[in-house]
């Protein structure tokens, strides 16, 4: 089926579905209406359904609601022009409302923003005014409603439209978008309890009792219940509670009024509509405000984490810069001194002395004659004398140069010692989820792992948030992961790196396991020694640094291997100040 055909079929489905829903909702309400004549009801459910459909599927769905409204009016015996006019009025009102709450916001209807409640109310009012004006005017014109009852009818008609849109549309939209999951299952009992309070309140209230004033204590139940839900749940959950209140309040009103005269029912209905709509908007507004506060708190926490991380980086960078500057320049002199010494020794007069001795050795048998009569031999003693003096001054020069070298090395030692006193003390503990830390480490090593074609297997148990030194743990883990990668460099076949997180005896642990070249038993503790490495290009500082860092945090780092070729597992155990509230 081509996409065009499919979308047309889908649209047809939506239009027909909307029409059917609209029609049957209307019929249901009319049959329940406290006033047996005229389609006046407290909450005109079909309007809410229609607006929800427009928001979810688009303005073209209005065709369905128009058709259904026409059908309803005709079904009740209204003349064709009346039916058409009323349906047109309803349709235009719904489209106007849709435009106000969704289209003008580039199509995104929501209840999560603080301004969304008032916007919804404005849209509902606009729809109510248009629809009520069109319909009630037509009814008066055709004589179905007496002219003096125009205002009362208009008010109630408008109220039924407004309350329906405010109460019903948000719930329907949220239900469809979240596919029925308005709130987390774990908190259902609490929500159900709040709903029970609301149901009791709504039904007990049974709508306003105008002769004796409004039933205040019971209303309080409703208000408290709404506040409870608004603070503890999301705006989406509030849309459901709004509907629940409305259903049971209307049910209560219907139960009480039963046989009441049409004329005297209007004030009840109107006040009920106002109260229900007001409660609904208050609930939505409160929930939106609370949701925004929560989001700010979360953003603040994340900003704090980022700040701690960058402060640590800045501190580290500063140490590095200091060392670079102080040591870099001194290293120059060290370098040069060393090279000067080497150059001098290479050209040392010692070689001349050696050659002179060779010469004398060659004339061993006639040395006196050589020394007194040979042209070269005669110069030899003077040469030996001068060479000895030259050697002495060479020695002085070299000693001077090496003393300078010593001084420079001492300077470097001082710099390093000073920086050591700054470095390593900064332990930053923050409430952290260990899983995130491991993912951070994996992200840092991702490039290297991909290049080495290593697959990562994650076996993460659920662990609580704990106060941990995130940066140090990431450092250790990156080191372990890199070692594992190198261990598997020559492994044929699958290269699997398994990472496990768990909690045992109040201690959190992370294990990094590889299937590489393994560790012979005698090396299991030696691998942590400073400078120990089995890699050609290794420097041996990684594991030593890692075990030091682990100890500094109050934890342990241990290695286990079944032997060469059987892989290795490194376990980092951390003391967990567990259950630190996030």
């Amino acid at each position: 089926m081509s996409p065009l055909l499919r979308s047309t079929a889908r649209r047809l489905l939506v239009v027909v579905g909307l029409a059917l829903a609209y029609f049957f909702a209307a019929r249901l309400l009319i049959s329940l209406s406290p006033t047996p004549s005229g389609p006046v009801t407290t909450v005109w459910l079909p309007s809410g359904i229609a607006v929800a459909a427009l928001v979810l599927y688009g303005p073209w769905a209005a065709i369905g609601s128009f058709a259904a409204s026409l059908a309803v009016a005709l079904n009740m015996g209204s003349p064709l022009q009346l039916a058409v006019a009323v349906s047109l009025g309803n349709g235009c009102g719904e489209l106007l409302c849709y435009w106000l709450v969704a289209a003008s916001r580039k199509g995104d209807f929501s209840v999560d923003g603080v301004s969304d409640g008032p916007r919804l109310a404005a849209g509902a009012l606009a729809c109510g005014v248009v629809s009520a004006t069109a319909s009630v005017s037509m009814y008066v014109q055709y004589g179905f409603v007496p002219a003096q009852a125009y205002v009362a009818n208009w008010l109630v008609w408008m109220g039924s439209g407004v309350s329906s849109i405010v109460l019903v549309s948000p719930l329907l939209v949220q239900l469809v978008r979240s596919r029925g999951r308005l709130l987390p299952w774990s908190r259902l009992p609490e929500y159900a309890a709040a709903l029970c309070v609301l149901i009791a309140g709504a039904f007990l209230w049974q709508g306003p009792v105008l002769e004796r004033g409004v039933n205040e204590p019971v209303l309080l139940l409703l208000i408290l219940g709404q506040i409870w839900i608004a603070f503890r749940f999301s705006p989406a959950a509030v849309t459901l509670s709004n509907c629940v209140i409305a259903v049971f309040a209307v049910a209560g009103l219907v139960a009480r009024l039963g046989e009441a005269q049409p004329a005297s029912a209007y004030p009840f209905i109107l006040s009920l509509q106002v109260l229900l709509t007001g409660l609904a908007l208050i609930g939505l507004g409160l929930a939106a405000i609370v949701a925004r506060l929560r989001a700010s708190a979360l953003a603040l926490q994340e900003a704090q984490h980022a700040l701690v991380a960058s402060a640590r980086d800045a501190g580290r960078a500063e140490i590095a810069t200091n060392v670079l500057h102080n040591v870099g320049n001194v290293l120059n002199s060290v370098n040069v001194s060393a090279q000067v010494v080497v150059a001098r020794l290479q050209n040392s007069k010692v070689q001349g002395l050696a050659r002179a001795m060779q010469m004398m050795d060659a004339h061993r048998d006639d040395l006196p004659a050589f020394l007194t009569q040979d042209a070269k031999g005669r110069l030899l003693p003077a040469y030996l004398d001068q060479a000895t003096k030259a050697l002495a001054s060479e020695r002085d020069e070299l000693v001077g140069e090496l003393r300078l070298l010593e001084r420079n090395v001492d300077h470097i030692k001082d710099v390093v010692k000073t920086q050591q006193s700054y470095a390593g003390v900064t332990t930053v503990l923050a409430p952290v989820q260990l899983r995130e830390v491991v993912e951070d480490a994996l992200r840092l090593a991702a490039g290297a792992l991909e290049q080495a074609e290593v697959t990562v297997v994650r076996e993460f148990d659920d662990v609580p948030v704990a106060a941990l030194d995130k940066a140090r743990i990431v450092q250790i883990l990156v080191n372990l992961i890199r070692n594992a990668k190198h261990a598997m460099a020559h492994t044929p076949g699958a290269r699997r790196l398994t990472l496990r997180i768990g909690c045992r005896d109040d201690k959190l642990f992370v294990t990094v396991a590889d299937e590489g070249e393994g560790i012979p038993a005698e090396n299991l503790t030696r691998i942590f020694a400073h400078g120990f490495t089995t890699r050609k290009d290794g420097h041996g500082f990684g594991l030593h640094g890692a075990v030091l860092a682990a100890t500094e945090m109050g934890g342990t780092l241990t290695a286990h291997s079944d032997g060469p070729g059987r892989g290795a597992t490194f376990t980092l155990q951390l003391p967990a100040d567990v259950a630190v509230a996030a």
């Binding site: 870099g328 290293l331 002199s333 040069v336 000067v340 001349g352 030899l380 001068q386 030259a390």
Partner: protein, 160 residues
């Protein structure tokens, strides 16, 4: 014409000047060299030709020396300029001004680290082959060879 072996070092740390002198100055002619040549039938070794090294501790001082040398018809062939020399001009500013005074001067910029990325620096200076970069810590042989190359380049530039 004799080769130009005049080198200017511009750096704020005195130790660096000592280092350059040790590397670049001509070794003292050994009085024994001729004697040895005669005694051991060896050809007297060619002493490596050193350089004449002058020092400046700030950019401004360096500029003054270059101007002086140029006016005295004894210009510098090359200059080693450090990147950071507080409180005065930094390396880039110094080199720009040196080239304004003597455009034929070959320059080596010495840097341990810098706050401007090296590419930006090179772009700003637009060396036209007159500039090289040297990272600290420096290697004596590398510096000696570099000085020789640049001095030769200066000579060729003069004859071109």
């Amino acid at each position: 014409m004799t080769a130009n072996r005049r080198v200017l070092v511009v750096d704020d740390m005195p130790a660096i000047h000592e280092d350059f002198r040790k590397i670049l100055r001509p070794p003292q002619a050994s009085p024994l060299a001729d004697l040895e040549a005669f005694l051991f039938d060896a050809a007297p070794p060619e002493p490596p030709a050193g350089f004449e090294v002058e020092s400046a501790f700030q950019g401004q001082e360096g500029l003054d020396k270059v101007v002086q040398a140029r006016d005295a018809q004894r210009p510098f062939a090359l200059a080693f300029v450090d990147m950071r020399m507080p409180p005065g001009w930094n390396g880039v500013e110094t080199i720009e001004r040196l080239w304004q005074a003597d455009p034929r001067l070959q320059v080596v910029i010495c840097t341990a680290y810098s706050d401007q990325s090296l590419d930006e620096v090179m772009e700003r200076l637009d060396g036209k082959g007159r500039i090289r970069v040297l990272r600290k810590p420096m290697d004596a042989q590398e510096i000696y060879a570099l000085a020789g190359t640049l001095a030769r380049q200066w000579d060729e530039g003069r004859s071109a």
